[in-house]
Symmetry: C2
């Protein structure tokens, strides 16, 4: 094990050295994310018409001050690259004009740049031998220091400096404004001639630019995109299309469309036009899979693979909801992507980009995406981000934005201190027929309680002692009121809502299943909820993969993996049986044929590639392989494998310091650990055995085996 | 009089008809102003180095929804021009693509456009026969309406709609982003050859683009700008310069600089270069003078003319502080420009543009320009704007921004409820040696009290009853505390400050003179202040025209015009005697020669053309001609002429419904009124006489004579 340890130490030392001398583009933290999200979220069209989001879009700060104090070993030449109009100062003294290189003298010196840029994010790239731009620079959008009539600076500065934002823009020639995703050419699997054009099948759901190759002639070309063949053929009702009026009489050209989601492309053109071939450029975020899962059940393996593909398609500039529709960042959808990410990619920049784009700027004038629950998921997303990655810096930088968002929420409580929808507040919960949003819904209080717990934790991280007390107390109060107000002893469940201060008769799954994995119930309440709600067919069923995510999570959290395996095979397996090549926004097994494609009153309104359809990634990693961090950044963690009826499974789960590998059959478990301290928790008929194992019995046939840093444990046991 | 009345009625009817059918570019209100101010305020350079403001610069909303419901008499074709990416809907139904013309069907229909634009302000220009874009359209940046899974819209909208912003962009081909000021060519009055170039004198302070005509050759051209000859010649210390590396070997070219302020231009060039001539393009805001003043004293007339020129030079995209430096919008400086404007231009768009640019967007994270007093002047500016123009619409649109700014202030009071500088708060008051900013300064409380009174008034306008009560009470409390806390009975004056809750021994002019024209003092206190402060040479003197403005106003308000005439001749006349062609940022008669040009520790740091130097415009209009609105928009007004030692004066003061003309000698007064109801108030030894006069004696030789709407009064009297 020594060898691995040394290697990792060297890697992390290496990373530090690189960070010190590697120049990268920097900006005001959060601003590139806001700018890029404006660009991305305003790319949607519906039947050729621009279809932007309805919520507020923010902007970057247009005037930003950057500085860092360097100890320069020997005079050096420093290149400057800037997005915007700028000035440069060394030790506060301005340099005339817009220099592209400067000379930094030896010794301790402060280098400052101030940049104005309206259309793009003010950004700099500074590259010398020791003087480079990176996230250790300090930035502000507001300098609260001034001079008196004699030119003397004020004695009290009120300026707030944050650490600069950065990502992977490590070349002077690719500033943030030139950001693009990667592309790769792909060919159709089938092209059919139609009466007036071509019908092209790319074999599976995909995303990118359609290329019309060898286009010649004069007239109109219409391109109808379909996630299903039916949609591509339904020229009057398909959701996306392009009309192109071309005039290419002389010679053949290749035309490339804007990005679209499709499997089928139906191209119709006037008689004067010819077209050789249709291909595409697949567009994607280049990020590698770190998690993996294989098991004895081929259908589950297929479900895992299609989940991965679905997730990749929706992991782009940001975690978006669906690639055809809405192509927007919805907080509730993104929250699930965050969780899946921790079990597949562990790509933190995608999480923070999305969190920052969602949060935008102050003032808070509406719930996130206008949805009350979506505001709370944002807090939950931060809670998880910190738990999985241990990134304190992010909390430190953005705690003020957490505070102002929470103040917005707290100011919207009703007279009894409960969240209730005011005009302009969308209480979403789920797409479900007849679901009541009236009054104070229990589900929203539960999410607020968890958000307040998150605030208390983060207040602790930034040493805001008043915040720790205030948010902690608010969380405790609200949690106790959940039970004094919503718990119905007779029904052994939380009721759906209070209307005019009175419990409604309605019990829904939402608050009850979240209560399970939030661990808000006593053991007795848990069993009541399981019997009376989760496994009770009389309670309104959930039809969206979005809420199935939480429903199955709650069942898993109660050890019902076997039941979940069969549900997964029914539900996701059901979509596969209908030929799905990615997972859908919604699936109702009772529907037939093209009925499956309709939603929102439109025949092809449904998205057939929705991020929230990929939840098996999360369930299989967290509740089958059973890997969960116990403290921030996997400093400690648990591995609690559960086969759920499978004969064996073999996989890995990414963590900051490496991948945790788990193999589990009914008789053998092997876990390869990481830098943190892990514990393998298993149920076994007999005491688990193996070389040099530290086995502790917890009673009830439950055993814990320590996993030392960077070690592997191999266990023989007898599955219950 | 009947004739004039009918004419005016027709004019105003005409204006309405025009407004209905005239298309103009529209945008989210306040956004063009923010965008333009970013552009303008980021044009300053200091010795060739970009010199942006240090405070926060905001941005426009990038995604804006526009709509209006029209009664269309007959189907019509409508042109659309849009800045940005957009969609168009008629009655909520999208039209494919980016149409440039649409057909509006006859009948009642809603036309909506939604526009995304990052670099410029989303703006539209819609022009049909009856369907046109104007400020009657409604706009929002945040649509709080959504759909359920069936596509049905929510029943409760939380969307806030404002009326669209507009100005004078009445042609489809000149969208807001193409805004420029007007220019006109001007010639130098003198050009001297120097050892290595030319020294050019434009005869007076000016602003614009320098044109290097007939430039040929290869090498460096350096242009040194000077508001004084000394500055232009001081190549090492002049404040602004340009270095141009040119390569024009073949033929003569004309090069045009960026805009600068100067009277002298010193051009030096390498020996390989030749230059025929230097001229300029004078840049200005085309806005006509409506006010006027002529009198028996030639020096006062000169002062008035140079004040006008100074004011015009600083009235540009916005009311700026100075044309050389800072070329920024400072609230305290702009406040004085607003007041001067009411007596010269009466150009409301310049006032509202400036108020909106200053206010920017929420959240408020700092005082305006970081200065506490400057925040308060903004409220005072709104108070005056409403009084002079009667524009309720502006208050209705921007009351929320007034509220959030006031909440920021109220949250920064100390434990005793007084304003005291926190880190980041610049307590400016004035440029004055040794002026203490410690503790709670009386001057700031006075400004806050007046700001609170403004809030109470505006709350009334927008029917915010709670606001009327809350702000009214806060204003009353603070006003009474001004006297319980700061008034010193022995000194018969307000003391300068409280430090640690105790009165300091210091008395300054600031709070005392503002107390006079705010009318906060009793008659006895007023006399005490006049004797012990205003006319007391032991109290630290004021050296900036900025504070001279208020000092002289206070004296005028107490009837000391004669004293003010002599002060004006000393102070402004003093600058004229030194050859000033525009009025300065600061003037100290004890300085000599080029000493006058230094400030902020730099030999040419002082601005020689500063808006606040033009205050005679205001004093002569308001306190000599004596014209003041008594109720919003001059519905009622007073004319209270005071010759201040002059033999006669003749002038006019603009009002919304026309100009009020005043002639006054020691024996005769003529006033031509406007639509409102005026009163002429005069002091006379004998009862004033004239045809059909309605004379009322107020005792103490004071008489009031009614001025009926659109009438002229001619009065014989005997000046006291």
């Amino acid at each position: 094990m020594k060898k691995i340890f040394i290697l990792l130490t060297m890697l992390s030392l290496g990373a530090e050295l690189t960070a010190q001398s590697r120049a990268t583009w920097i900006w005001y933290p959060g601003d590139f994310e806001v700018w890029l999200s404006n660009r991305m979220q305003n790319r949607r069209t519906e039947r050729g018409s621009f279809f932007p989001p309805f919520w507020r879009m923010d902007s970057h700060f247009v005037l930003v001050d950057f500085h860092k104090v360097f100890e320069v070993p020997a005079e050096e030449q420093v290149e400057l690259h800037v997005e915007g109009q700028y000035n440069v100062k060394i030790d506060g003294k301005g340099i005339s004009g817009y220099p592209r290189t400067i000379t930094m003298p030896a010794g301790k010196h402060k280098l400052s740049l101030k940049v104005f840029c309206q259309d793009r994010v003010p950004a700099i790239f500074v590259k010398g031998k020791s003087v480079v731009s990176d996230s250790s620079w300090l930035v502000t959008y507001e300098d609260k220091e001034w001079i008196d009539a004699s030119g003397k600076a004020s004695d009290q500065s009120g300026t707030t400096w944050l650490s600069a934002g950065s990502w992977n823009f490590d070349s002077s020639s690719t500033p943030p404004s030139k950001f693009t995703l990667a592309t790769t050419p792909q060919q159709a699997v089938k092209t059919e001639k139609t009466a007036d054009g071509l019908l092209v099948d790319f074999g599976k759901e995909t995303f990118g630019y359609v290329k019309l190759e060898g286009l010649k002639g004069q007239g109109r070309v219409s391109v109808y995109y379909g996630e299903s063949k039916e949609e591509a053929l339904a020229t009057e009702t398909c959701e996306t299309l392009d009309h192109l009026d071309i005039n290419l009489p002389a010679k053949k050209y290749t035309l490339t469309s804007l990005t679209k989601a499709f499997r089928f492309v139906n191209i119709k053109f006037d008689s004067g036009i010819s077209l050789d071939k249709v291909s595409m450029l697949y567009e994607y975020l280049p990020v590698a899979d770190r998690g993996d899962f294989r098991c004895s059940d081929a259908e589950i393996n297929k479900i895992y693979d299609i989940s991965k593909y679905t997730f990749h398609l929706n992991t782009r500039e940001f975690f978006i909801d669906g690639i055809k529709r809405d192509r927007w960042i919805w907080s509730g959808d993104a929250y699930q992507s965050f969780l899946m990410n921790y079990y597949l990619l562990f790509d933190s920049p995608s999480v923070t980009r999305t969190l920052l784009a969602l949060r935008g700027k102050d003032p808070v004038s509406s719930h996130m995406n206008t949805i009350m629950d979506y505001t709370f998921y944002w807090f939950l997303g931060i809670s998880d981000y910190y738990l999985y990655t241990g990134d304190k810096k992010f909390i430190e930088q953005f705690y003020p934005r957490m505070q102002s968002l929470m103040e917005f929420c707290l100011a919207r409580r009703n007279a009894s201190g409960l969240m209730e929808g005011l005009p302009g507040d969308w209480v979403f919960i789920d797409w479900a027929d007849g679901l009541s949003k009236q009054g104070a819904v229990s589900f929203e209080q539960l999410l607020l309680a968890r958000s307040l717990e998150t605030m208390a934790t983060c207040a602790g991280i930034v040493n805001d002692k008043d915040g720790v007390t205030k948010y902690g107390k608010l969380a405790e109060d609200l949690k106790s009121r959940l039970f004094s107000v919503y718990w119905n002893e007779q029904k052994q469940a939380l009721v759906h809502s209070l209307v005019d201060g009175k419990q409604t008769d309605n019990v829904t799954r939402y608050a009850n299943m979240f209560g399970i994995f939030f661990d808000y119930f006593s053991e007795q309440q848990k069993q009541g909820v399981k019997k009376n709600v989760l496994l009770n067919d009389k309670i309104q069923k959930i039809t969206t993969p979005y809420m199935r995510f939480y429903e199955l999570e709650a069942l898993c959290a109660m050890g019902e993996q076997k039941h979940v395996t069969s549900e997964m095979k029914d539900y996701w397996g059901g979509m596969l049986k209908l030929g799905a090549t990615s997972f859908w926004e919604e699936y109702d097994p009772s529907k037939k044929g093209a009925e499956h494609y309709s939603m929102y009153g439109r025949p092809f309104g449904k998205s057939l590639c929705h991020a929230w359809g990929a939840s098996p990634l999360y369930l299989l990693g967290k509740y089958y392989l059973g890997v969960k961090p116990l403290s921030p950044g996997y400093a400690t963690y648990v591995v609690e494998p559960a086969l759920g009826g499978l004969k064996w499974m073999d996989g890995k789960v990414p963590a900051p310091s490496g991948d945790i590998k788990v193999y589990c059959s009914t008789t053998e478990i092997r876990v390869q650990g990481i830098a943190g301290r892990g514990v393998l928790r298993i149920k076994s008929k007999t005491k688990p055995s193996g070389d040099r194992l530290d086995v502790k019995s917890l009673g009830s046939q439950i055993y814990e085996i320590g996993i030392a840093p960077h070690s592997t444990v191999k266990v023989k046991y007898s599955a219950l």
